[in-house]
Each structure stands twice: as C-alpha cells, then as structure tokens.
Symmetry: C2
Subunit: 424 residues, 2 copies
Amino acid sequence: MAIIDNHSMRQSALFTKTRREAPKDEVAKNAQLLIRAGFIHKDMTGVYSYLPLGLKVLKKIEQIIREEMNELGGQELFLASLQNKELWEKTNRWDDAAVDIWFKTELKNGAFLGLGMTHEEPITNLMREHIRSIKDLPVAAYQFQTKFRNELRAKSGIMRGREFLMKDLYSFSKNEQSHFEFYEKTKTAYTKIYQRVGLGESTFLTFASGGIFAPYSHEFQTITDAGEDVIYVSREKRIAINKEVYTPEVMKELGVIAEELEEVKSVEVGNIFTLGTRFSEPLELFYNDEKGERTPVFMGSYGIGLGRVMGTIVETMSDEKGIIWPAEVSPFNIHLISLDPKDEVIRSTCDELYNAFQQMGKSVLYDDRDLRPGEKFNDADLIGIPLQIIVGSKNLTNGMVEMKERAKNMATLVPKEKIFATIA
Amino acid sequence: MAIIDNHSMRQSALFTKTRREAPKDEVAKNAQLLIRAGFIHKDMTGVYSYLPLGLKVLKKIEQIIREEMNELGGQELFLASLQNKELWEKTNRWDDAAVDIWFKTELKNGAFLGLGMTHEEPITNLMREHIRSIKDLPVAAYQFQTKFRNELRAKSGIMRGREFLMKDLYSFSKNEQSHFEFYEKTKTAYTKIYQRVGLGESTFLTFASGGIFAPYSHEFQTITDAGEDVIYVSREKRIAINKEVYTPEVMKELGVIAEELEEVKSVEVGNIFTLGTRFSEPLELFYNDEKGERTPVFMGSYGIGLGRVMGTIVETMSDEKGIIWPAEVSPFNIHLISLDPKDEVIRSTCDELYNAFQQMGKSVLYDDRDLRPGEKFNDADLIGIPLQIIVGSKNLTNGMVEMKERAKNMATLVPKEKIFATIA
C-alpha cells in the first residue's frame, strides 16, 4: 500500500516564512534556496534541521525509496546510532587512522562509543542470530537512519552534511553468483528511484573502483556543477566512468572510446558495493552450506543519501526565482493563490477550489494570506510547487482562473469550470 | 489521510527467528520478550535496534501519535541531533553539573558538540526566524527524533534506553492564557493516544511538580510493577498524584482524600510541561504585541517516548507464553497458520485465505513454514498477533478452521465460509 502524506494546508497557518537573503555563511545554492524558501534551518556548518515543507519533500523521497526497496524484497529495520567499539575493532575500522570521519562519545563509565557513520558492522553482527543455514539465505534488509560523519569541511549544504538521513540496504547471499543476481536487480531499482524523484535524465550508472571482491563498484552520478566528482559520460549509451578508474582498459571493457565521452562535474547520489566476506569473516557470520560446511556469507551494501538527493534536485532544478520541484517529490501538488482574500467572491471561489482539488486526491498549499500579489508570486516561485492556480478579480469576472506551470514560467487562462479536467 | 503500513508477508520470508532464551544480561521483561520474539536486537546495555516486526509496531505507535498531533494543529519537522554548545550555554544547560545525561562529541577542529537529549534550545532558536509579530502566534511544532541520554544505569529494556525515539511537541503562545488553552487540548490528545495504543485503562493523568511557571506539570503514568515511579491513584476519578507532590495541600486542591488513593508503581509514558519564558528569554524569542511591545513568547513542551510506550505495552500485556498486542499497534492484524504446508488442500485453502484477508484490508503474517505445529503455536503466541487463524487437515475435512484470540488463549471452530463475516 502506497503511504504518502497528502495533507493540504492553508499558508496562513504554515509557521515558516520565506526570506530574501540566505545566511551569509551559506555558500551552497541548494541550502541558500531551501533556507530562503523555509524548507530547512541551518543549525551549524553541515548540520541542518528540516522544517515542515522540507520534511514533506524528504518523506516523499523516503517513500519512493521504500517502495522500491520493498519491491526488491528488502525488509525494513532501524539500527542503533550508538556503536560498540569492540565490534568495529574486529574489522579494523575503529581507529581514526583507518576511518577518519568518526564522531565518538563516552559513557559515564568511561567506555568509548561511536556514532554510526555506516552500519555494516552492527547488521553483520545481528544477522548471526538469524542466519544459520543455507535455507536462511538470501536476506536483504534496509533502513532509513541518521548517519554521523565528522567531515573536516562541509560546504555543500544538505548534499554533504555532518549528520544526514541515509537509506542503507545490506544483502546476504550464499555465494558470489547469488549475490550478483541480486546486485543486478538493485541497479534497476536505483534507476527507477532516480527517475521517480526527477533525476532520471541527468543521472548515470557510473563505473568506480571495486575493492577486493569485485573489479568495479557502481555509483549513480548526477551531472551538476555543484558536484565534487568528475566523470566521463556517454549520454547516448547512458553510462559513465569515474575519473578514478578512467583508463584505456576500463574503456575497452565497457566498449566505449574517449571521443564519445564527455568530462563533467557530478555528484554521487547513490552507490552499490560488493562487500564479499570483508565483514562476515572477521565478525563470524557463517552458515552451513549444502555439504554442512561452515561458509562465510557473501554480502553487498547499497546506499542513498536522502539529503544528497534533495539537494541535487534543488541544484539541478531551480532558476533565478527559486526551486522547481519534480511532481513526485513536491511538498504539495498544487499551489492555490488567492490574490484578494478579503474579496468575498474570490474567497468563496478559492475555498471551493481548495476543497474540490482535495476531493480529486490532490494536496494543496492554499495561499490565503493577506499580502500583496507580488509577494505571493515571489513566494510561490521560490517555494517551487510545480502547478500554481491563481485566482484574481479581473480574470474571475470573465469566468477565468490563471494556471501557471512553474517550470515554464508561463501562465494560461482557463475557464473556471474547466480547471478540474485540465488538471486531471 | 490515515497512513498505515499494511503489508502482509509470508513468515518463511521473514528473516528473523524466535529464540527460547533472552540474553543472560537482559533483566527487563519487555526486552526479554521482544528479543525472543525477534522484534528487537540488543546492541549494548540501553541500546537496541528494531527488527522488522519491532519497527512495524514502532511505526504504528508513531502514526497514531502523528494523527493526534496533526489534529491539534501541530506541524511536523525534523530537528538535528548534533547540538551547538553556545546555544545551550545561554540557557545554562550545557554544563554536566547542570545536566548530567549529555553525550558530547568533538569536531575535527576541536569544538565540542552535544547529542540532542531534548530540543527546547534549537527549536526556540530557529523560531526566531519565523515568529515576529503577534499574528505569527500561536504555533505548535513537533517531531519524531532519536534522543541520546547518557544514563548511568539502563536496566529497563526499551523503557529507558541510552538512545530512543521520542515525539516532542513544542507550543509557542502569546501569553499564559493562550498557552493554557492549548495545554488543555494536549491532555485530551494524550488521553486519546493512550486509548488507541491499548494503554487507556491503566494510564492516568498524574499531577507532578511544575517548575517556575505553573503549580503543576502533568505526567501520564501507566500502572506497572516494571515502573520506576510511585503514584497515588484514584481509579474511580481517573487521576493520580506523583509521590513527589503527594501532600495534603495537593489532595485538597484535587478534591481527593487519602482513603480513596492507592499507592502503586508506575511508568511515565508521557508528560506535558509549561515552560513559560524559561527558554524564550535567554534565547531571545520575542514578538511585538498589540501595543508594539517586545514580549517573550510563552512556551510549553509535550513528550512521549515511543520505545517507552512499546515497552510498557509488553510489560502490561503479556503472559507466560509471550506478548499480546493491542489491535491498533499489532505488527499484523491476523496470524494465519498453516499446519501442513506440504498438503495441497491445506496450502490452497491458506493461500486463498491469505489473499482474501488482504482484500478485506487486513494485514496478514502467513506462517507457511515447514515446521511442527507445536513450534508454530509457540511462535505465534510469543509474537502475539491478536487473532490467529489456524488451518489443519482434521478440521478442514469438516469444513472448519480454528480461530484463536490471543488474549483469551481459547480457540473456536468456525466454518471456513463464515470466517470472513466473523472477522469483519
């Protein structure tokens, strides 16, 4: 069952206000626009809170990912943030020399704890209680959980936070072949996710370095100047190579030549990894195979940063006036704008439309505030709901309301009674 | 729109296993049962992960609370976990001498951060950007967020964790009178929440000490021997007094006498506080009143720990066989148990029921595992879904299936074709 928050609301009740200027210390376009439009609040460098409009977008992204993870057979869980030092020592990832982005903290008794920056160790450990025989495999489990990363610099707004919500999926297979069958399915699921959140066109499956158990890992990279990565992309073949593995051998293997590849800046909006037995061996996640032999479970991990996706949408889908949300992640379906809430006819028309749109299953932000039209237009363009319905005296006298697609920045007049058919 | 996860699933696909024994170091009944039934995993003392069944219960509790908070006009947001030291110094709550449950951590540049144990400071601070005039009031905003508390001892399972999910609502009013109008409404909302999660009978509005701005605060206390509090309760008048304010004056004020009060152990499953200007003054959250005078916003805060509620349900609604979930928070509506999945007739009957229950809008856990009936019964009673439908050869030959209400531990035979009407 699809689970989407579909509340409508009057803008006069929304507590957040838009603002003309972003904080001076905020250099990332995504955060500047999201702060100005009242979607997020900057608490500190790299630390942001999500206000009601921002949380709505985040939840819609979350729900799209959840649906695709469930479709893969993933089972949702919710792991702890506080991390047991002993567990991470077993995989040699506790020491700051090995992993330099830990936030650590201390119990009253002086024992050290970590704050989860990823969750391979705890999930591998807990699976020991549930995976014993070959009949228990394969398993796929995922979560949405805050990750904490002690980044030295954090200048990319919500695209690289010191804390951020992440979807991480882990797979547990009996062997490499079974693993790669699942791994291929995750590529399809990820592709579908980026299409649904509106990044399909600009996002490319990208070959990156693989680690011990696979020649490559795969990243999903979205082309944007706000990105910190460089990829070589074939838009036609819809694949890309991360600069770090951009070699003649890789090109040959992928059947592409330098001439058809374009060098662009991009941001990694997701990645899928073959982990093999990197974690199952030191943490002793074994099962008894067909012959009764004790065998390490073959693992994979698959991440998507939700704030990273949301920030990338804003970087790539905005103009000088503000944000332009793709339909499926927009905080509301329709922005209904009353140009004169004090006028009785306009008010009753707007109220009627507000109710009727909801009856159609559309969520509506209804700007019923007593402000000048110019301010309302500016706010609506900044907030970026894809469809604006504008009701003013002049047009209404002629039986018309204005319909504006935010992406096109062009309004058309529609007879009031035809507005429902036009929208549907 | 109600938004409930209503997925059904086959138990053979569920990766968690039940276990006979809880870990030896686990002393709390709620955690023992939840671990044995595969709802949670114990990571460390006071730190638990939620497995798929446990997360389903947690999400149902969350959704009930969300609906009641929205009904109050609350707007949902999501504040950061990492806390700015400077902000907490302004209210004198940074120092460990003032607040001894902080987890603190450190940025690469040596600056100290806190891990949110509550969120009055950051929400008061961010509201400065959105509340300026009297027209911006009142505001109510809430979140579901992990809290971190450095508890010296944590022996109560998920009833007192070192990290736990909490709903915290904050209200912002123009003055004391406006505040108390809202405060009274939260009492009603809380009462409804405890009724819906199944704790209505055993939970009492309890007078507790109030702080500077109000004679009392109010707790919601559920009677259980697993609780750490002591209250004096009148079951008839449905009110209670916390031992800490149990004085003749308070009794007189509430119109009760010692003879009608019963001393019981209880657990605080929620609280509502008048904060007044305790935070708005030091953090400078002011607005301009009718006369244009700069006035501090009058605040309240309202908490419910989700794990605390879930643990309390298990403590108070379980027997020697396992958990007995109240209907509205049960991970599934129906536990469909096939006694012989290899038998073709039984399998097709069960598959048919599985589909038909889902068509009725019921979520089903379908035990299609190839195990002995005794094991299946034990698992079902341990997991605690309120309604079990059991399909076996002997009864099916007579056209009957067994229906067992977990709470009554008594089965009745129902003609197969009447099962839908009986359930509906």
